[in-house]
Symmetry: C2
Subunit: 144 residues, 2 copies
Amino acid sequence: MSAPSTSAPVAVSSEMAIAQALAAIVFDANGLVPCVAQQHDSGEVLMMAWMNRDAVSETLRTGKLCYWSRSRQALWRKGETSGHGQTLVDLRIDCDGDTLLALVDQAGVACHTGRHNCFFRALRDEQLTEIAPVLVDPRQMYGA
Amino acid sequence: MSAPSTSAPVAVSSEMAIAQALAAIVFDANGLVPCVAQQHDSGEVLMMAWMNRDAVSETLRTGKLCYWSRSRQALWRKGETSGHGQTLVDLRIDCDGDTLLALVDQAGVACHTGRHNCFFRALRDEQLTEIAPVLVDPRQMYGA
């Protein structure tokens, strides 16, 4: 597993604090809340994924980002397979409580395509275009 | 209405380009896709809201951010009531097509509470705490 890129402090919280955070979060009908992951120092928006109560709790308890995989219907400990994990620097809750912003320290790349972030398609000269390079071969990340 | 804070170019697209973008977006069972709005120059994550096909089309056509209000079940032209609108600088589509990232130029404040962004609650000393000040009185924004 690659080391975090900086030595930002890892945020870990007590059970009492976690309970406060959970009470402020409005989970949807499926028990999920969207979480935007942003690189804490560069400001780069890396990805968006979903969390359930257990994923929020585990993230705050361990300081390692844990999401809920809607496709696998299971907790998704980011980096567990790929080695490209995220350390939590700060978890923020929005005004309505229905979106989270995680400031993280991304190890390696955030996107399963091997790009640094997931938002690599945009219109350029009226064409949908890939605007970011593949940095890591996905076969290397997932051992396929 | 306050002027945009910088003179970033406004992104407007042709109908052909808009069709390409729409074809790449995976709308959910309710016909919606989440859109993260980020201030294009500072990197500040301002808010997350939802778009339907019409909101995406209007945003790309006009260069002004238009969302779908789930509570009002209507198009939500950001800033129409408050004057605090968003100009589109770039719209990005993620790897799975199910999340958008809009780089915008925010006029005034993004949050209906009068804060600059919506993510103003976080754990500090084990307490859920408001970490950003109210910059504009919401009664002034909405004429209440």
